[in-house]
């Protein structure tokens, strides 16, 4: 107990700066603010209890993400209502997207979509796609860090990312067409 105050200070210094990131990842994993809040709190308290096993000066962010993910899988995953999951072939999807976005081939329509639509599309991805999109395209982690956090090879991260983006682009394009932001198809 004598070292407790110092340990607590070090913990707060190294861990609390990552709360926003943990919360954003938790939000996309659980799909709900209330569960995300609980997941972040559980994660931080678990990390605190395991603080002795963390090697100071190493990657606290990756360590925390691993705890968060394990906690999600073990205690939260079953609470999530899983939406319909589609996984078209990547090449097929890719061709489709470019064909359908014929009037907007550079994807300006993405900027016209409201945030909630984009978040809903991310949340509808299968979990293994959703987590790579969150870590890479929202939080900006590199392939190697993501691979380490998820415990999979870098090649797996890359192929999941590629499929996840295709699927997400397809969903967003559908939204954009429905909303009249994009006229589908190529010029005659």
């Amino acid at each position: 107990m004598s070292s407790t105050p110092l340990a607590a200070i070090a913990f707060e210094r190294d861990v609390l700066p990552h709360l926003d990131l943990l919360y954003r990842v938790a939000l996309r994993l659980t799909g709900e603010a209330a569960n995300a809040e609980d997941l972040v709190q559980d994660t931080v308290l678990k990390a605190f209890r395991a603080w002795d096993s963390f090697r100071q000066g190493t990657n606290a962010r990756g360590w925390l993400l691993t705890i968060l993910r394990n906690t999600f899988i073990n205690e939260y995953r079953r609470r999530r209502r899983t939406p319909v999951q589609v996984d078209l072939d990547v090449a097929e999807q890719h061709a489709l997207i470019y064909e359908e976005s014929g009037h907007d081939p550079e994807g300006e329509f993405f900027h016209a979509l409201v945030d909630d639509r984009i978040l809903a599309a991310i949340d509808a991805l299968p979990e293994e796609f959703r987590e790579v999109v969150v870590l890479s395209d929202i939080e900006g982690l590199g392939y190697a860090n993501i691979a380490e956090t998820l415990g999979v090879p870098v090649g797996t991260v890359k192929s999941r990312l590629s499929r996840a983006r295709r699927q997400l682009q397809g969903t967003l394009l559908e939204y954009a067409i429905e909303a009249g932001i994009v006229r589908p198809g190529k010029d005659a």
Partner: protein
């Protein structure tokens, strides 16, 4: 691949990694010079960039609520490590 100019197929295959700056310095430069010379592939790059920017913009704003931060700080004080 040293001293080799990329064709469109090769450039597009490397595009995702290029945008994430995950290629070697050499290949980053190779994709960049292909994009500078090829409007078709540059269009693909714009499409992917616009997509990535929209995803980040939609999700990056969320902050851990103050009430949760306060709850966590309080729990840390009443739950010493070890």
């Amino acid at each position: 691949m040293s001293d080799h100019t990329l064709d469109c197929g090769e450039a597009l295959a490397l595009l995702q990694d290029y945008l994430k700056e995950e290629l070697t310095t050499e290949n980053q430069a190779r994709v960049a010079s292909h994009l500078a010379a090829c409007g078709h592939c540059l269009g693909h790059a714009h499409f992917e960039r616009n997509f990535l920017a929209a995803v980040e913009r939609a999700a990056k704003g969320a902050r851990c609520p103050d009430a949760v931060v306060a709850r966590i700080r309080q729990a840390l004080r009443s739950d010493p490590p070890g």
